[in-house]
Symmetry: C6
Subunit: 297 residues, 6 copies
Amino acid sequence: MVEATEPQYNEYAIEEFLVRSEPYYRPVGDEMELFTAAYEQHIPVLLKGPTGCGKTRFVEYMAWKLGRPLTVAKDSTAQPLNEGEVRVPLVTIACHEDLTASDLVGRYLLDANGTRWIDGPMTRAVKTGAILYLDEVVEARKDTTVLIHPLTDHRRILPIEKTGSIVEADDRFLLCISYNPHYQSALKDLKHSTRQRFISVEFDYPPADVEAEIVQNESGCTSDQAEALAKLGEKVRNLREHGLQEGASTRLLIYAGRLMSQGIKPRRACQVAIVWTLTDEAELQRSVEEVVTSIFE
Amino acid sequence: MVEATEPQYNEYAIEEFLVRSEPYYRPVGDEMELFTAAYEQHIPVLLKGPTGCGKTRFVEYMAWKLGRPLTVAKDSTAQPLNEGEVRVPLVTIACHEDLTASDLVGRYLLDANGTRWIDGPMTRAVKTGAILYLDEVVEARKDTTVLIHPLTDHRRILPIEKTGSIVEADDRFLLCISYNPHYQSALKDLKHSTRQRFISVEFDYPPADVEAEIVQNESGCTSDQAEALAKLGEKVRNLREHGLQEGASTRLLIYAGRLMSQGIKPRRACQVAIVWTLTDEAELQRSVEEVVTSIFE
Amino acid sequence: MVEATEPQYNEYAIEEFLVRSEPYYRPVGDEMELFTAAYEQHIPVLLKGPTGCGKTRFVEYMAWKLGRPLTVAKDSTAQPLNEGEVRVPLVTIACHEDLTASDLVGRYLLDANGTRWIDGPMTRAVKTGAILYLDEVVEARKDTTVLIHPLTDHRRILPIEKTGSIVEADDRFLLCISYNPHYQSALKDLKHSTRQRFISVEFDYPPADVEAEIVQNESGCTSDQAEALAKLGEKVRNLREHGLQEGASTRLLIYAGRLMSQGIKPRRACQVAIVWTLTDEAELQRSVEEVVTSIFE
Amino acid sequence: MVEATEPQYNEYAIEEFLVRSEPYYRPVGDEMELFTAAYEQHIPVLLKGPTGCGKTRFVEYMAWKLGRPLTVAKDSTAQPLNEGEVRVPLVTIACHEDLTASDLVGRYLLDANGTRWIDGPMTRAVKTGAILYLDEVVEARKDTTVLIHPLTDHRRILPIEKTGSIVEADDRFLLCISYNPHYQSALKDLKHSTRQRFISVEFDYPPADVEAEIVQNESGCTSDQAEALAKLGEKVRNLREHGLQEGASTRLLIYAGRLMSQGIKPRRACQVAIVWTLTDEAELQRSVEEVVTSIFE
Amino acid sequence: MVEATEPQYNEYAIEEFLVRSEPYYRPVGDEMELFTAAYEQHIPVLLKGPTGCGKTRFVEYMAWKLGRPLTVAKDSTAQPLNEGEVRVPLVTIACHEDLTASDLVGRYLLDANGTRWIDGPMTRAVKTGAILYLDEVVEARKDTTVLIHPLTDHRRILPIEKTGSIVEADDRFLLCISYNPHYQSALKDLKHSTRQRFISVEFDYPPADVEAEIVQNESGCTSDQAEALAKLGEKVRNLREHGLQEGASTRLLIYAGRLMSQGIKPRRACQVAIVWTLTDEAELQRSVEEVVTSIFE
Amino acid sequence: MVEATEPQYNEYAIEEFLVRSEPYYRPVGDEMELFTAAYEQHIPVLLKGPTGCGKTRFVEYMAWKLGRPLTVAKDSTAQPLNEGEVRVPLVTIACHEDLTASDLVGRYLLDANGTRWIDGPMTRAVKTGAILYLDEVVEARKDTTVLIHPLTDHRRILPIEKTGSIVEADDRFLLCISYNPHYQSALKDLKHSTRQRFISVEFDYPPADVEAEIVQNESGCTSDQAEALAKLGEKVRNLREHGLQEGASTRLLIYAGRLMSQGIKPRRACQVAIVWTLTDEAELQRSVEEVVTSIFE
């Protein structure tokens, strides 16, 4: 066997995931004010928007931001531990149809002394006062969707049927969910009895100048390349009306920029990061490739 | 790791959930008399009505109310422990298709000394003499629906097959279920062999003046704002005939009021709390937005 | 926490469920003779009829009746323990598609000393010589339906595959099943290989005079009210030809009577107990309400 | 609690089920010779025929018969233990879609000393040299159907994957399966890779004179009643061409005879044992009832 | 209880199943050379052909044959232990849709000292260097099909996810699968990513003279009877163009021969072994019966 | 029992699978540069292309290659342990619809001292810094697809809900997935929220001269045979437009070459390795056979 280098991974509890440094986030409108008001008022938040438009980044930013001394409400219970220290944990759960209530709430494990209860990530978030972020909530099963009902009305409780107990949420707890309304799986839909427990904030891709700034910042490419990529993103998104299922996310533009900064030719970088990623159909690939060629001559 | 503040959540047994202070509830008709009569007569109650029209709040109110000395029947067994003390526990279960009979009735857990039986919330409610409230009962699986049959006839028993025993309900026990008949999932329906075990009380949204009172009371907005929001609720519900799946619940009006009281502009507050929450379709959003504009100029 | 009153529930073994006092039952034809003959001859019995027409009550009555000294057959093994004492246990199982063979026959539980076998309710009934009543048998899964085959032929045995053993039924054991042939779920049907193991007794709602007697006896309303309710039941059942899925069961008439005896106005009592319970459709509700008005002017 | 009489049931191992007294069986053709030849030659047997035509009874009879000294083959290994003693165990399994391979082959159970393997009924039959009778084999799941493949070719082995072992069948082992080809669930069908491992014997209802003999013998009714019932059986089976799904099995005729011997009037006995059992449709019931009336005037 | 004779079954480990005596196999073409070349080259083999045409027998024959000193390749690692001793174990698995990866690869069992890993039959075959024969592989579930991928490329490994380990196959290991392409369940099909990991050898029923030899050899009937049965087989297979789903396998011809050698009349033997086994439809039965009559006058 | 030779298999941990010798791989374009750039930049890679075109081989080659001192980036953390030693482990997982999140992430096992957590292959790869290769990712279940989301954005974490912990990936970790876009199961598709986390490299079969080199190298056949086989591959792939579902993979050409080198006649080798493997339909087989005949006259 080969002698392995020291393992370089860290392992820690889910509820200890903190956003430690300010994420790069450029607000587009009043989304920060809305989120802060909702947080102060204990109103759950639903974020709507297409793949990769920045919803997850926004939640991370707010988790970081809310850790700072708040100026909105004087008597908020959400005070930082120490001046300038980040303090709101962020528990993110990617929803899917095989995620069970037990995965979220907790389960019994067998121990030397019999069974022991292990809190799931949702229970941990509720107890710690985290922001609980359920990504792509429409993909969740009914039993997990229903779990959030008593957490989202005036009770703010999580009943744990398996232990026969009820947990009242920490005062700093907030539930936030995301959802892509333009998705093909329009069959699945949020039931109104769930939906009407949230206020809703709609997101879209950032304007070209903001996106160029983001791409340059995150990929290390030149500002010319970043601007060209932002322009490319905008044009490709318009192809959605010509059969393309989804436009290129900001992430793909960043990937292209990073390949360029690694020495790959711009058109080749765009081909593998954008053209071939967006679609398998030859004709649509040609359309996207034409846009690439028109920008990176 | 960041040093955490003392956890601020409470945890207690499901059957110890008591409604401790009088919930704000404005009766519309004789629903209190009907519920009290049913409670005295051990007749299970079915509440019908749209999302967010106040069914859950009504059950909470009755749980609080029935804890007080009853005046309806002198020889009722439902006497309060101490003068003026709340005393009817409320066990609420949100039904869904992944909720098993074991989740409700109980299960065996492995212990240092072998298996130990843990009562589920339904068994706890039956033993304690709670009001057991099954929310959205049509979403439940067959096995859970059938569980309630022997509880809802003259036997008032809960057979627990896994332990081979039968539990007779405490005299104060009452089963209450809710159901939204205008729901799209009209395929699912309560079987008559289940349905004909209940009396049924139909609910609708409260009249505008009552709703304004509720909104102001719960959101802290001004009375003008509350009245405008109640008017908005009424008008938006009329849009249901123009393609809107569900009207705005009282809860959404309260959310809007709370955002306003937090300093968000009324039209923006209505947009995120009502317009974007009610629908994803651009055209329907425009219709709702027009109603908002007509009220909050 | 509030100090709880002493719990008032009883808990006992499933096979110890005895009908201790004579249930109110008015025979309509020779159903008692047929059932007694079948019991003496070890012939399983299938009861057919609509929801709430009295099938379950009839089985309870026979369980009580057969506990008395039998006059039909001198050498019957079914002798009472003591003069006048009730003695045939009744094990009732509401069938549904999630009920497993293990739920019925038994399962292994883990103990301090390893696994321990726990008899299920069917095994308990077979061993004790109970009447085993499978309610709505067409709702059962195949594996549970097939379980009853060796119990219903000359072998009268219950093979328990999990323990590798066979149990011969006590001589007093009888299997009885019920079934609503007019049900919408006509897709599900009893297979002939199951069905032809039973004699079949068809039931219908009782005639109006008998039903009035039952309603008065069980609700405590006045005899005038009881007669009016019986007439109402008859008329509403005729509406089945006009789109009503099921008529009002005797139980619903009793509910209305009990609300009246609690001081609720007759028309209101009928509305919540009958009109709103029978259907969600406005037009059908109006039809039923007209019948109510014509009787309770 | 009522003091219970001593339980009167017996419990014994599945592979100890022996047919102890000669079952009443009237051969119709050469089916006994065929079965005996197949038994001597280790050829698996498939019995085809309608519900209740005597397939199960025939297998029981052969299990009893083969226990006697065989005259067909001198060097058969199937010698009786003692002169005249019954000796071929019969293991019957009613197949259904929820029967797992583990139910048949065996499973591990947890013990004070860890897991212990428990043979299932199929393994018990294979080891003991029983006749293994799989009733209604088309209802079985794929995994159980496939289990019988290595048992039905020259290998005569049962691989037990969970223990990693192979069991060779005792020399006296025979597999026998039954199947109703006229069943509605014609969708399910025996795959040829399974089917072509058996010889097939077709059964039908016995001729009227034989059936009358059987009915009288088993019900205790008069010979006139028995002959009338046999005639009734014949006529009702002809109604199958007029919409009746299945004819009356011999068992139902016996039920009617037993009710008569218990004092129930013949026409009433036929109504509950035959008419109401065969169908729920009013018109078909009238047709059958006419046949009854024409015979029992 | 009856005193049982000493049990006559053997039980041994799955990987110890050896074909100990030369199976009767008459090669039709160069199938032996192909299989031997594939075995030498570690190329997995797919056998295609109808039910009962001899695929399983061929694999058994090759398992026996390859145990002898090989003449094909001098430096083969597949040397016999002792001169003339059989040595290649054969692990056969009948595939079906309820067979899990755990059934094949292995599972953890609970022991007095905690869990213990038990190798499944596939792992046993891989470690021992057996021929692993997956019968009717298209019936397998996806997870079991995918298991064979790393075993069938240059890696020849079996990853065992549950133990976190990888097993490299013994040098003598070969995977062989079978498949009936003319089957009705044509919906199920081998994916190309699986299929293109095998060479494929097509089989059909043997020519009449060879089949007659096989039938006589295995049934003990006369050579005239064997020839007539082979002719019958040929003619019946031609009926497939007239609606018969499958022709008679060689096995069924042998069954008929064995019944004849037991004294059953030829036409009756053919009826139960062939006519009634091949089809339930009266008309098709008549067609087959005519063929029988034309041969056994 | 036969005395077995010493077992010749090796068994080792999944994360210790290293590609120890340089795999034969002929680059077609700049795929090596792209993969290396992505590896340096922590960008996940999606490989698209038909069955058997070399995707898996390419990943193995890169795993071997990246173990050598890198020249692309000076400050790469991916340094070899010792000069010239292979060092990037490759964890390959064949995806399918029965693969659970537990299979990938890990599970609790019961031990003498209670439960013990066992890392699954994905967790092992994340901790060790392996290349994790998910083959045919579209076949995976939703819960396994979603697992890779937090691994493929800036967080590079694997949340393990069952232990309530988060693992940060080793710096050398890379996720690589493959996917065949021309597959019939076009219904299944990668969701954009997954897809847009990768750059995509498209693969096709190698050009004829390269493929001939590969075939000769891996089969040991003559160079004439190898060239003929490469030509055959090219022509057969063109038949895809005439109804052939997939063309012959390079692997099948190698199989044919190896059979030839074993002495099988070329046309016969092509028949079993290619014609019969590619299709079961007689007509298509004839078309492929004609191509074979035209090349191997």
